[in-house]
Structure formats: C-alpha cells, structure tokens
C-alpha cells in the first residue's frame, strides 16, 4: 500500500467532518468495546493468561533466529518450501514467480495484512493474473478499490448502502439492502472462485516452530477454502509470527478472538502443515511459506522489540479515542490505531509518518486492552523522543521543548517562572476564568476555551497550607 501517513492531520480533519463515516464509526465502536469487556469479565483468569502470552511471545522473539530455523527445518521436512524475503518487492517476486512457473491464472486470497504491506494484489494483476479477496470485508474493499481501515474488520467504515451499490455494479443483480441476503449474494459469487482458483494465498496468525505449521483463524471459513481447494497453497507471513508449540497457540487463541470481537473462539482454526499427504482426501499438491522481514528486524533487539509481540487483534484501535473518531484511513498505511502509530513509522520511516506517534491522547486504554501487554503509549513516547533527537518536528516545537527542559531542570528558576506564568494566565482568563485565544497555540483554542489557573502555583499554595 502506498504510504500516505504524512497527510494524517489533513486526513483526520476531513474524516471528522465526514458525516457518513462518523455514523458508521459510531455503530461499530460499542460492539467491539462492549463485546471484549463482557468476554474478559466472564473469563476468570485474564491477567494470568495475558502474562503467559506475553512471555510466550518474548521467548520466541529473544531466540528469533533459532525459532525461525527450527520452523524452516520442520516445514521443509513436511514437504513445504520455505522462502525468505527481505523486502516487500522480494516477497512479491517470489510469490508471483511461483504462480508464473505453475501456470496460475486465478488466485483466491484469505485476509493477510502482510500481503497488504507488500502490495501483493497489484503484483498479481501486473503479471496478468486474476486475484480475488474472499474475506467478505476484503472482497467489498477490492470492489471499492480501497485499502482496509481496520485489521480485523476491514470494511468497518462502510455502510450497507455503500456496500449495496458496490454489489449492484459487481454482480449485476437487483439491489439488496438486507444484510443476510447481501451476504448470501457474495457467498454465491465467491463460491465459484473458490472452486476454480489454481492458487490460494493465506496469511498465518502464527507459525509453529516444533511442527513446521502455519495457521489461519477465521469466522467465515474462507481461509479453509483457500488453503484446501486450489492445487497450490502459498502462505505469506512476518518473521515475528513464530511461536514454539501448539500449546503456545492454545494460550494465544484464548486471547485473540476475545480481544478482537468478544468471541470465546473463532469458528474456524486451521493448522496447516505441508502439502496434502499420500492418500489424503483433499488439500493442495504444493505448499510454500514466505517469511517476510520488510522492516521487522529494525525492531529486533532494540527498545521497541515488545511491539513484535503483537497478535493483530485490533483491540488497541477499537479502544482508541483517536481511531474511534477518525477511522483507519486517516493513518495513511496498512496498520491504523496505536499499533499502526508504532509500526508505520518504523516500517516506512519516521520522516514519512511524523504525526502518528503524536496521534494519541495518552489515555492508556490501548495498553490496558492489549492481550500481550505491549506498552503502546511508552513506545509512542520513544518515537517522539527520536523525532526530537532527529530534529523531525517543527522548530518552534523543538525550541519550546528544549526551553521547558532547561527550566524544568532548575528548580529555583522553575518556581519563579511558573509563578509569573500563573499570574499572567490568570489575568488572561479575565473575570470568567477562561482563555479564548493563546498566541501561537490558536489551533488548540479554535474550538474550545482553556480554563485559566487561579493565579498561584501549586508550590505556593502548598507552602501556605503547611504553614
């Protein structure tokens, strides 16, 4: 996907004024947050499982090379071909190369965010192959020529009326607005593709080192069609997805669907290991796994390695007041919300995504909701520090921060200046105690007044009351 994160502020402002989007986002918000809260409340051991899950992810990440090599050895032993891709372009070359060599004409895909990162669909199309997204949300977006706006519910920003218009154009049937009937229409359209595709491409929520296994988690069952019916199955996934054992998966899967949509388990969990075995009733003849770096090694071993624990549940964005109001497209790349505000600057460059680590109220809800305990606000703060150090923020902001840092490190000076500041601010507030405009900060006061302080500092009041 083209990086457009540099336009965050402008996009966010547009989205806030988009009545239709605002309505669609309001509908979604309660369902995700309430659903998760209910599932967590009835679970009874959330914190213990969460702590163990974070440990599982950390353990694999701390020995990432060994776990990956072990996965590769076992997947290969089971008949899969494992490929490594350093960049997005390399990943596409490998996969399209396999398709070309095998005379593939049609590809079905189940949802994969890594494939969005690397622009796989465009690569297939450029090579003259038909590629069909089969997750209902992704299918809708493919018809709309739009990127996903959420990592679990990609079409969350669309209303059924908007979807109905897309279906009329694509299917040439009478316009339906009854959601079950619309779903059936899409089912019938996609069934044909499932049965006629030569290659199926899936992501993999985790890969299991011990058994050389990849796996999919869906409610629709589309991943099972994609990984079972075509003669070739290609998995595209990030190198950070490796875990040790099937037991590790059992722990993580207690958290994933509950965090994502409040469901105790997803309808279909499928562990796929190698191609069809001799005599098997079904399954592909050939299986490939493409392990993609594309920026991940920049996080390994550094102060933000915890971000690689991410299991892509979407809880952080569902709980983010910024995401809830601007939607996913404002973020300008594949991953929106708090996790995207960390991954995007790291993967595509901090200079291209400078507003994202600042697109936060620091309310901390994302860290509370995260099933693998990623300290998301802390990581955003680290990116802000990098921005300051690399001089990527505008000079007035850097000057203000540097000046504040100078004063804050000198207690006597701080006391004197803050006493003056408090008096000035109190005077600015006038009789009603509200500041209507601040020189240089008119962006902040354009839509609201700032309550003026009472004229004396905390220290002055403290000294007075202690006598």
């Amino acid at each position: 996907m083209q990086v457009e994160s540099m336009f965050f502020k402008q996009r966010a402002t547009e989205k806030l004024g988009d009545e239709l989007l605002q309505g669609n986002m309001r509908k979604a918000k309660g369902k995700f947050v309430d659903g998760r809260a209910k599932a967590v409340a009835e679970f009874g051991a959330w914190e213990e499982v969460r702590t163990h899950a974070a440990m599982i992810r950390d353990r694999a990440l701390a020995n990432l090379d060994a776990y990956l090599v072990e996965f590769e050895a076992n997947a290969t032993r089971r008949g899969a071909t494992v490929h490594w891709a350093e960049t997005a372009e390399e990943a596409c070359e490998i996969i399209v190369g396999i398709a070309k060599a095998k005379g593939v004409r049609k590809v079905t895909k189940s949802k994969s965010m890594v494939s969005e990162e690397v622009n796989l669909n465009e690569a297939f199309e450029a090579a003259g192959m038909q590629v069909v997204e089969t997750d209902l949300g992704e299918y809708i977006l493919q018809l709309a020529h739009e990127p996903p706006s959420h990592i679990v519910a990609p079409a969350v920003h669309k209303s059924k009326e908007q979807v109905a218009d897309l279906f009329v154009k694509a299917h040439g049937k009478p316009r339906l607005t009854d959601i079950p009937a619309m779903t059936r229409e899409a089912r019938e359209a996609l069934r044909e593709h499932f049965l006629t595709a030569d290659m199926g491409v899936s992501g993999s929520n985790f890969v299991i080192a011990e058994t050389g296994t990849t796996l999919t988690v869906t409610n629709e069952g589309n991943a099972d069609m994609v990984t079972t019916l075509p003669r070739i199955h290609v998995v595209i996934t990030g190198i950070e997805k490796v875990i040790g054992t099937m037991e590790d998966f059992a722990t993580l899967i207690r958290l994933l669907p509950r965090s994502a949509i409040g469901q105790s388990i997803a309808n279909y969990l499928t562990l796929t290991t190698g191609p069809r075995m001799p005599g098997d009733a079904d399954g592909p003849e050939e299986m490939h796994v493409v392990l993609v770096d594309a920026g991940r090694t920049k996080l390994v071993g550094g102060p933000m390695q915890e971000m690689l624990r991410c299991i892509r549940c979407g809880a952080c964005m569902n709980h983010c007041p910024v995401y809830q109001n601007v939607g996913g497209h404002a973020y300008g790349w594949v991953y929106p919300g708090p996790m995207g505000s960390i991954l995007t600057p790291v993967y595509v460059g901090l200079e291209n995504a400078g507003d994202l680590p600042n697109a936060a109220t620091f309310c901390g809800e994302c860290a509370v909701a995260c099933p693998v305990k990623i300290p998301l606000p802390d990581l955003m703060r680290k990116l802000r520090e990098q921005q300051f150090d690399r001089k990527l923020r505008p000079w007035p902001e850097r000057f203000a921060i540097a000046a504040w840092g100078f004063v804050a490190a000198r207690p006597a000076l701080y006391a004197r200046l803050s006493a003056i500041g408090a008096r000035v601010a109190s005077w600015l507030g006038g009789r009603e105690g509200l500041i209507h405009s601040l020189p240089g900060l008119d962006g902040w006061t354009k839509g609201r007044d700032m309550p003026a302080p009472p004229g004396r500092t905390f220290r002055a009041l403290y000294r007075e009351r202690r006598g």
Binding site: G44, A45, I56, D282
Partner: protein, 218 residues
C-alpha cells in the same frame, strides 16, 4: 540464500550474537524449551466438573445444535430426524466410516464420498472434541475429506462422548499420542460459519455451513 542469511544475521547482530545462523547449542536450547510442551494457565471453566454439560453449553453459545444417541446404530435415525425437523432433504454426502450404518432403513440417501459445491448436507466424524469451547477437531486423512464439513450448507458431525476432552491442550496431547505429528490439516470447528463484515451485523452462513449439528454417541 542471500535473504535468509541477511535476515538471520541482522537478528543475531541486533541481539548481540555474531554469525548468520544459530549455533548448535542455541538450537538445542530452543528445542529443549519447545520439547517441554509447557501448558499455560487456563480459565476455571476449562476443567468443568461435568465435561459433557460444558461441551453442550458451549455448543449452544456458538450456535451448534446437538443430540445424544445411545449407540452408533442410532445415528441414521437421529440424522433423519434432524434433517426432517429442519426441513432439509434427507440426502447426505458423508465419510466412508459411516457408510455401513442402516441409512436406507432411516430413509436417508447416504453417499460415501467427498462433498462438492452442490451437496446440501455433509457428514463427518471427528478426531476429538473440546468441551471448553464447544469445538470439534477434524484431521485430514484418507477417506476423511475436510470439504464435507465446509462446502455443504449443513454439517453433521458425529462425536463419541469418550472423545470429548477438556481443553485444546488436551487435544494436542492426544494428537501427539495417537498420530505423532499433526497431519496436513488440523481443523477446529466451533459452530456455523459467520461474518460481521457489513455494519458489524452478525450473519450466519458466510462461506461455510449455515448449520452445524453434533450427534454425540454415548
């Protein structure tokens, strides 16, 4: 091999290890950790006193219907009853393992073969079931096509009561015990296919079955 070496070298350099591949000692340590098959903490309901009741309760929550029969010989009659009550045609594409039952006697046309996109009802057995989540577990194997659980609008699954286990971890332990390694596909099914991709409205029957019915053999 360029990309592989570069990636592994970058990981190792970032974590303070030299070289482009893990050492034998590092691999052995990772394998030893993995071989422990450590089981994490589980929620209290994962080990319910009445496992069968827990299984049925979770089936209800996931939208899976269920019925109990006394013996394998009673399966055709239960399937006939279920299909009749749901207003469905009594025609089934099922696993060969159940072909020997008296289907004709129950008025069901049973064909032992993989299901196609045209079949309305598919019948399968399962490797085991998981009570914690109301889940059935199918393994890919000769004569056990996965498509029978996937393509038809109705999936009937036969579960032996003594194959209902507490947790997913238990099912993995059983898998290691009886099959050694996971086969090509280890397929956990919990209720009918669904989607909420249009306005977060849950619709049953996305790409897979609209109905899942479990027949528990006591």
């Amino acid at each position: 091999m360029g990309a592989r070496e570069n990636i592994l070298r970058r990981i190792r350099a970032a974590q303070g290890r030299s070289g482009a591949a893990p050492t034998q000692a590092e691999l052995a340590a990772a394998r030893a950790q993995i071989a422990r098959h450590e089981v994490g903490p589980q929620p209290p309901f994962a080990h319910a006193p009445d496992r069968l009741a827990q299984f049925r309760r979770e089936c209800d929550r996931m939208g899976t219907t269920h019925a109990m029969v006394a013996a394998e010989g009673d399966i055709p009659r239960e399937v006939a009853r279920y299909l009749g009550a749901a207003g469905l045609e009594r025609r089934v594409a099922g696993w060969a393992a159940f072909a020997g039952l008296d289907w004709a006697g129950a008025g069901v046309a049973y064909e032992a073969r993989p299901a196609t996109g045209d079949d309305r009802t598919g019948l399968t057995g399962c490797f085991c079931a998981v009570a914690e989540t109301g889940t059935v577990l199918l393994l890919s194997a000769p004569q056990m096509p996965k498509v029978n659980a996937l393509l038809p609008e109705t999936h009937v699954c036969v579960v032996r009561a003594d194959r209902i286990l507490d947790t997913m971890e238990d099912s993995f332990a059983r898998l290691r015990e009886e099959a050694g390694e996971p086969p090509r596909a280890v397929f956990f099914v919990s209720g009918p296919s669904r989607t909420a991709d249009i306005e977060q409205t849950i619709v049953i029957g996305a790409h897979g079955p609209y109905r899942v019915h479990v027949v528990i053999v006591a």
